[in-house]
Amino acid sequence: MNRRDFLKLACFSVVGTPARSVFDRLTGKDIAGPTKEGQPKWAMVVDLKMCASKPGCRDCVDACHSIHNVPAFNNPKDEVKWVWTDSYKNIFPEQSHRFVSVEVQTRPVLILCNHCENPPCVKVCPTRATFRREDGIVMMDYHRCIGCRYCMAACPYGARSFNWKDPRPFIKKIKEDFPTRTKGVVEKCSFCEERLAKGLKPACVEACTTKALTFGDLNEPNSQVRNLLASKPNIRRKAYLGTEPKVFYLE
């Protein structure tokens, strides 16, 4: 190989390496992502109409927060939350124009960590305390979190909370089988990873009495979530960002 060929090859490989991932994205990789044999890809579908059918309901929020030892600070500035609700017009600003009915606009929308396929929080974490598991769950290793809150800045959904104070005195009843967090760490929903390991559904899905929440495996073609997504129009929060959220909403 002469000098000229070598330089050509070097240029091509430098340009080619990132081009590969761009190409992959443009050719429309499936949201389910690369599949390992038998590896689930967890997702949740929220039926907004069914959810709104029981006004003021907090069953899922209470269930989640009590089993995960989520503290209840009285001050909204210190608030720690894994699942919570906000109005449709706040959560889907790009979907709510002035002709959308008031009923829809003010509908409560259940929000939680979207367990993105392409999670910005994971990219920015300097200690790799937050990471994406192969089954799609965006997890926290609380041992490694140094409380820099880069992930909170990176998350476009505000799904993460920071412990500004020692949370223990603010937990109503500490559940023994789940750790609390400590001052200075970030926390968020884990799709009930500890329950999935036992073959149980997430606590919020189990607690929901209106059957608004469906949880399942995107890699399973006949799963309930896949059927719902195939049969009904659905939206995701800020899907245009390319984060590939895995919490879907039926309007």
Partner: protein, 135 residues
């Protein structure tokens, strides 16, 4: 030099003061002190051998944490083939239910302050030192 006596006396006093703790321990027999740990009565064998556990329990816990958090797997296969659920509060504390006279006593002696229990919850029925959270 005119102050030989004073200098020697000064050195002697200095040595007495500096070495007094050593002497005190030797005379009172505390130099050979080792904390007496109360071992669990209902189980004779830990996850791995006792010498391994004595020196490497924190490495084992770290490994368990890594496997559980990163891969989601929860069953640990020990060297002897026995399997254990990887859980500090659930598995370790089941046998080591006397935290005060086992974990805490040795950690206090070696002046180690593990922060496990700032997040993990000590199961009910486990004896703990009241002073442990005071630091």
């Amino acid at each position: 030099m005119h102050d030989t006596a004073k200098v020697i006396a000064g050195i002697a006093v200095f040595l007495i003061v500096v070495l007094s703790p050593v002497w005190y321990n030797t005379v009172t027999g505390q130099a050979s002190y080792v904390p007496q740990l109360k071992l669990p009565t209902d189980e004779k064998y830990c996850v791995e051998t006792a010498p391994y556990m004595r020196t490497n329990h924190i490495e084992l816990l770290e490994l368990w944490k890594k496997i559980v958090v990163r891969t989601g797997k929860r069953i640990y296969k020990a060297t002897d083939g026995k399997t254990y659920t990887m859980s500090l509060a659930g598995t370790c504390m089941k046998c080591h239910s006397n935290k005060a006279d086992f974990c805490d006593r040795c950690h206090n002696y070696t002046n180690v302050q593990p922060n496990c229990w700032e997040c993990h919850v000590v199961p009910k029925g486990v004896k703990t030192e009241a002073t442990e959270h005071a630091r």
